[in-house]
Symmetry: C2
Subunit: 303 residues, 2 copies
């Protein structure tokens, strides 16, 4: 067993102990704590000693584009999030478009950081084609998650939704166990619905047309305007933030958020929290062993 | 029969012939031309002689909030769109939050105007509670449309998607004809699924959870951060735009848009165009009569 804050402190130190290192370390370890190791410290496999730090903007930019292909992706996204926080606070609204981003984990921790700073945080990530358009017969976009966070404390909401029902990892798992897939999540190579994992050529969008359009929105922002689409060096990611306090006293957004949460949950709706872990969370011995191995490699002790 | 440009010119003149009047007139008449008269010149019923022009910003603001409750809503949204165009071109990115907005029609013509100006345009509108949360038993948000437009010419995409499958107008129509509703679009007063129009107390989100989250995103932006929620004077609307040209030569977004459109439509996906009408479109005599009546009222000749 290792306590969550201890794990974060150790990984953060190995990554240089900068504010970006702290945010990236917390984001990765949170995924392991949530039982999503695919988005956790497994990302450290991509870390190399010659990784380039992300260039920090000298003055806050309202809109910026960054090629992250030479950087360790979780640090690049964390660094962009920190720069964006300052830019949105200085300008009222700002956005950053990253391209060439390799695996960086979940979006939720990054938009949550923006919410912690009093901002509304919005993000999306495109990726290699796994998901078909609604009505289409082959994969054209990624699972393209979209995230939004606003508020702090009990009222905070963190939305983090993918545009497909299943992931390619779900398909791989089903392939290894031989279990049939649920109906309506995948197509075979002929563009026909299938429940046989080994035949899957494309995932279907979540909720039909609306999930397909959400995936297209993310692709247009992160892939087209951001330049990430079809870049063999990595995916496109966008982060956008604005400061609701700039409205002054005319809008009491905290009170409106609390009232919306009360209406939403009072009617039986689920208020998404983006999987934040309590600081008391602990991780198991298997995780501790994997973390030790990654830290040894980063510190060069493994050679 | 009346030609589309003639109808727009006449309505625009009646509304003062400003750039905002031209945009508002074209937006309303397009809805009638698309066979959506609920979003068309019927909106002119709300026009009154004492309507206040929307205050134009003296200098472009990166983020602004406007109370539109004393303004004619289609002109208010058009005016905000024009101001936003200038602000986004000057600053790289900008957003405006409107509240107290009464019926203004469809979002598509306004985000399309932003795309015509070379920007990426994003918008959403919240409204009175008609739609339940996914898993919820009563209405908590509006049909909350979300729109995005980018590009010009043949590659342009204009997404305009509501977060419910049906509208309250569909329910009213079914109530008057007595026809049963499709399964899975509505709940009764006990929060149970119903196909009986007269029993409908809430609409269900489009595509289940993903449509529910999209509606929540719009509510958090237009209702919470924008201050529109629970305002008895009207709905909340947000408009956001950024300039993809600010990336300089590093991102050829037009080429990426063309390639995405080719992939998307080549696989059988539908490329949404937001219902733009050709300038050659004509409207029928019934429309011409309704337009005459509205113009007579606006010009004071009806009294």
């Amino acid at each position: 067993m290792i306590a969550f804050p201890d794990a974060v402190a150790r990984l953060s130190a190995a990554l240089g102990d900068s504010p970006a290192a702290k945010l990236a370390a917390a984001a990765l370890i949170e995924a392991d704590a949530l039982g999503q190791p695919r988005f956790g410290i497994a990302m450290l496999d991509e870390w190399t000693a010659d990784t380039t730090p992300v260039r920090a903007a000298e003055t806050p930019q309202a809109v910026s584009w960054l090629d992250c292909s030479a950087s360790f992706a979780p640090l690049a996204v964390a660094s962009a999030t920190l720069d964006l926080t300052g830019a949105a606070q200085a300008k009222g609204i700002a956005a950053v478009f990253l391209r060439g981003v390799r695996g960086f984990g979940r979006l939720a921790p990054f938009v949550r950081h923006l919410a912690d700073a009093g901002l509304v945080g919005i993000a999306g990530a495109e990726g290699p084609p796994f998901v078909a358009a609604h009505g289409g017969t082959r994969a054209v976009i990624g699972t393209n998650p979209f995230a939004l966070a606003i508020g702090t404390g009990a009222d905070r909401v963190v939305i983090d939704v993918a545009s497909s029902t299943a992931t390619m990892a779900d398909i791989r798992n089903a392939r290894s166990t031989g279990a049939p897939l649920p109906e309506g999540i995948a197509l075979n190579g002929e563009g026909q619905p299938t429940t046989i994992a080994s035949e899957v050529a494309a995932l279907l969008p979540r909720g039909g047309q609306v999930g397909s359009l959400l995936g297209l929105v993310v692709e247009l922002l992160a892939g087209v305007a951001g330049g990430g689409r079809d870049d063999p060096k990595g995916r496109g990611v966008f982060l956008l933030a604005f400061d609701p306090e700039a409205a002054g006293d005319s809008i009491d957004w905290q009170a409106r958020l609390a009232a919306l949460k009360s209406d939403w949950t009072g009617s039986g709706g689920h208020w998404p929290r983006g999987g934040a872990r309590s600081p008391e969370a602990a991780l198991d011995d298997d995780f501790a062993k994997r973390l030790d191995a990654q830290l040894a490699r980063i510190s060069g002790r493994a050679q």
